[in-house]
Symmetry: D3
Subunit: 146 residues, 6 copies
């Protein structure tokens, strides 16, 4: 087995807060990430596919195709957007880097037909990131998004 | 003369649009940067001070002091903020990386008392940045901020 | 399960030598790393915590808390220090990047109460690093530190 | 167990094409990577060795020795070469980053006598890379190299 | 005045040799860069435009437009190409990073109509690069390209 | 004119203190950089040479030669050394990044015979660096080095 990765970027804004808590409680938990008008990041998304190289092409997956999937199925929804309000698949979800990763997985997964989606790595800053391998995780979806 | 630089980071959101133009015109000029709910970046700010090293310290400027100035006078206003609405010194200004740089200069300048402020470099993404040396530049301040 | 990581930095000096060997033998094994007056590095420490995101916060662990643990429990002992002589938990230990990693693990481990410490990655230079997952490793502690 | 890694670089050119296919088919599969005169990359090769640190040295493997192996056994064949025509161990192989990784493994493996070769990571660009752990993979060797 | 920069990348191969010299002389001067089948790099091109921000847009130049110019006028000729044989504007030129920079300048210059082309920076590797500000430089064009 | 740069690295330790001051005063000025046993960094040194490319080679200066000069004349003295005590040309000098830069200039300058030494850039950390263009600077040399 080999693991091949493509890295792409998007720029987005978000606010971290739990709509069931008051401002004070949100401030204690999220501090400056709870700024009501939001803040933003240059996210880096690394997508890893696992598989055997096709002997005729030498490719596990054509990275041009993988990038195309990421652009058309993921980045189009996230790049230059406000993650709390502009993104259907994040509606009502607290857009932590953990939750975003889990929900990107569900979008990318069915499109990987050469090899198998193995891992997502999502950087919120160069010093903070999540890795996710697809194990089911409960994500709470609140009725009241921002 | 030597030139010494400190690099710091902040995460912020913004929207690029000219309030005197309609949505269509803003869309033509700013495209996805005109997303009404904004988007964001991890900005990197590099501040360069020019001077001779003090023979007794070997320092042009103590970088701990320079960082302290940047944290207390600049980052406190910009980090985890929405640049269009949360920042007094950007009120009514289109928060392009060019305009932000010029206005940060005016804030930092009077606090540099060892050596002289020489240059600001502001990265909006790892692939896009501005350098500014303090030459006066006209920045339009619109009456109607977002 | 998700894996979330925080990266921090410290600058330190060290000398690699085995006090039971003569200078010649140390020179053969450690070469320039055996320079008697030491040398130094900008270390980068990446700490990964494994867990499920708390549905109410969307956090596996609050990265502000994780960073706070790293600053107060690890960096305070290592940053701007000589690893052979200034650091209690490294006394008598040859401060290779392997040994330092194992001993940082023991310090960080009990403080991770949201999720579970999963991995440490310690860069000595941008081109050399260790990854450690907590499997017990014998570290020799010499009676005669530098 | 610890995992220690050394990173090295080489610059090489290659062309991706399957000699059993006509130009049109190669163009469909490899697009611009099929440019007949080739193109090139600055490759980064990260080699990870797994083992326990030797209590007397604190080393899993001496990274100077590991680098020496990589320079003398791998880089000498690949650096500043055309991978399709200049490299014996790649003769007749489509030099995708997948295939190159697998064949570098076979060369490095027997030389690692302290610890055990655990992983190769090969970057073709800063945004595209492969990870390989030595699981046997079929690599097709065509009779007709470029 | 402000200076705004866009960074783009291309992957190409080349061979350094002077066709008026024999192989031995070329080997002495260019060493492994003279490999007859060529080698390659991931080049990074940073293009800096100097100007005042337009008060109505806050832009010196729209970086989307600048990138578009670079893609359509420069990268289309260089990306995934062999610089000695595939590129009209480099025909007969020894494709050192110096010479390539000077000739890219001539191509980009007339297309910059907002602000003024100020500087090109071209990385051949992360450790080697050229900066060029447009001062006329003699580039020898040999009758006999590879 | 073109400006061509080579980047190299060295790892060293140092202590910042003025031997004419008591410990308390040094602590106030240098804080943790005054740790008596020193601390260290991975320094990055970028050396820029200015000149016209030789029409016969396309080189301003052969970067292999430039690197060779840096290794043999600079790095041999600084890499894996304690800058306060192991380095003749720094004896009695407070080894701030400013002072080191100025004194490296004097060593490199006479060896650059193709083109002209234009600039040194010395990183102490990825977030702190000095640029120096050779303008004479007074460096105090204390009689009493560590």
């Amino acid at each position: 087995m080999l693991f091949i990765t493509k890295s792409v970027e998007f720029s987005a804004s978000h606010r971290l807060y739990n709509p069931e808590w008051d401002f004070q409680k949100n401030q204690e938990v999220y501090d400056k990430c709870n700024n009501p008008n939001g803040h933003g990041h240059n996210y880096v998304l690394e997508v890893t596919v696992k598989g055997k190289p096709n002997p005729d092409t030498g490719y596990v997956i054509d990275l041009k195709k993988l990038k195309d999937i990421l652009v058309k199925k993921v980045l189009i929804h996230l790049d230059h957007k406000h993650l709390n309000v502009d993104v259907d698949f994040l509606k009502g979800v607290i857009p932590t880097v953990e939750n975003i990763s889990v929900l990107i997985w569900d979008i990318v997964k069915p499109h990987i037909t050469d090899g198998e989606l193995y891992k997502l790595k999502l950087y919120e800053t160069p010093n903070s990131w999540v890795e996710y391998y697809g194990e089911p995780v409960e994500i709470k979806r609140f009725g009241n998004e921002q």
